[in-house]
Amino acid sequence: MAMLEVRDIHTYYGNIHALKGVTLEVNQGEIVTLIGANGAGKTTTLRTISGLLHPRQGSISLDGEDITACPAHELVYRGIAMVPEGRGVFAKMSVQENLEMGAYHRSDRPGISADMERVFTLFPRLRERRRQVAGTLSGGEQQMLATGRALMSKPRLLLMDEPSMGLAPILVEGIFDTIQAINKEGTTVLLVEQNALMALSIASRGYVLQTGQIVLTDQAEKLKKNEMVQKAYLGIE
């Protein structure tokens, strides 16, 4: 049984049929990537898994338990955290308060302090700026904060939506190194990326999403060599 099982979900925005039967699985300990063009439905998939949207059809289960109708704020308690597209830091709150919000559902103070220490070790920049208002951080720092905030919830499954978006290439490498480090410490990762080459280099498996449907899935190494993937997502003719 996979940790996360998404079975044939159909998600709508009003009348817009955004996901037309998406099926995917993520096993404990994996990094799985979901790639696809702009508007393919990657963000919608993550929002549906995290409970911000609910599918009209299909089911989602975590550790074998059905979570299809579970509201977003309860899924945090079950170990799902998301780094949203565009980072979504609370701009008017301080770095420290943002991190505290990540641990909102927890009450083990010593554990929270220890995890904040761990985030500060992972991202020393955040320690320097802990009292600063998040809106004044650079894009790279905001991405660190959004990632750190997600880690504060002690997630077992981390959903990341285009963490490299809008960042300088030098920072992008850092982000991918961090994702690998987080994964090595035991967190399962479902990674959505436009930067397909980077994503496929750190993932074990990948799914290709096209206009709301999964059109291809394979080992990451094999996807990198796939002709269709090379043409459409890796810019290789």
Binding site: A72, P84, G88, F90, K92, E97, M101, S153
Partner: protein, 354 residues
């Protein structure tokens, strides 16, 4: 095409600038006239300042209710004046009862605290019911819809309380210990004003601490910034919204008792209208959605209302200026909305996303 809109815009601009200038000149002429003729003594001015601060602190407490709800839902709860009325009107009966039994004279402090808690409880209940029944079903409706509902809810509440308690004015009983004055810097300040001002200030400090420092307060700020991300943090936004209405209601309820102690006119079922709209003005003045702004806006409006008639209007030779008090708030509301809709301390409204 583009040229034309540009030139039209600049005409409007020009008109507004001219209007601003004229308003400033008129105010200055009024002030100069008043102070060169030395109509009032400094003691009289001090009296106006103190009563302005006391009244202003009551506006501030009500204004916080508008601003808290706006911060979370981007919605003006126009029934908030009735939330205030509900507490003040219901509590007058308990106050009269306390006066009859002599409890109010024997232990005024305890009695007043009980009155405040009672009024806050009533107003909180009404505010929470309002959210549940009138606003929650419309949370995803276009913004005009809850606004209209608020006005309907306002009438419904007014006439419910009219049905419950009748159309008569009821006055809060006199409290002997509040009758005295206190000497501050050589000026005699009525004790009741001092008590109202300090108690209101105390509540505002507690609110500020709650929003800035507590876990629930931080969750409230998170929801006001981004609801979807707040949910991803495990925050149940329905609970936060209810608690925001409850908090605003509690402050309005307390303000209702302060008003009863401070003003002898009495309470009745339409009493919420003026304070409601004035507190709304105060909230807009401070920048709607901004908590310290609502506090400062309330105090400022109280002072302007108190000092304005004697300092500016009389200097302009306008008769019976004190009857224009209520007009001042409305004129200010219009002027702020035209010239500085984001308020004095406010950020631009457009920056906030729905």
């Amino acid at each position: 095409m583009f040229r034309r809109t540009l030139s039209r815009l600049s005409w409007v601009d020009l008109f507004l600038r001219a209007f601003q200038l004229v308003a400033a000149v008129v105010i200055i002429i009024g002030l100069v006239n008043t102070f060169t003729t030395a109509r009032y003594t400094s003691g009289q001015w001090a009296t106006l300042v103190f009563s302005g601060l006391a009244q202003g602190s009551i506006y501030a407490l009500i204004a916080l209710g508008y601003t808290l709800v706006y911060g979370i839902l981007l919605m003006i709860n126009f029934a908030h004046g009735e939330v205030y009325m509900a507490g003040a009107f219901s509590t007058v009966f308990l106050a009269i009862h306390f006066a009859r039994t002599g409890f109010l004279a024997r232990s005024p402090l305890i009695a007043i605290v009980i009155l405040i808690l009672f009024s806050a409880a009533i107003s909180t209940t009404i505010a929470v019911l309002l959210e549940r029944i009138a606003y929650r079903p419309l949370r995803n409706a276009p913004r005009l819809i809850p606004l209209i509902t608020a006005i309907g809810a306002s009438f419904a509440l007014q006439y419910t309380f009219r049905g419950l308690y009748g159309t008569q004015f009821r006055a809060y009983p006199d409290i002997a210990v509040l009758k005295g004055t206190w000497n501050i810097l050589g000026f005699d300040v009525p004790l009741v004003q001092l008590v109202v001002f300090l108690a209101a200030l105390g509540l505002m400090v507690v609110l500020y601490w709650y929003v800035e420092r507590t876990r629930a307060g931080k969750a409230m700020r998170a929801v006001s910034e981004d609801k979807a991300v707040a949910r991803l943090m495990g925050i149940d936004i329905d609970k936060v919204i209810v608690s925001t209405f409850a908090l605003g209601g509690a402050l309005a309820g307390a303000a209702g008792v302060f008003n009863g102690l401070y003003r002898p006119q009495g309470v009745f079922f339409l009493m919420g209208f003026f304070p409601g709209i004035k507190a709304f003005t105060a909230a807009v003045l401070g920048g709607i959605g901004n908590i310290p702004g609502a506090m400062m806006g309330g105090l400022l409006l109280g002072l302007i209302e108190s000092l304005g008639p004697n300092s500016v209007l009389e200097g302009l030779g306008i008769p019976a200026t004190n009857q224009l008090k209520d007009a001042i708030a409305f004129i200010m509301l219009v002027l702020i909305l035209i010239f500085r809709p984001q308020g004095i301390f406010g950020e631009r409204l457009a920056e906030k996303k729905a």
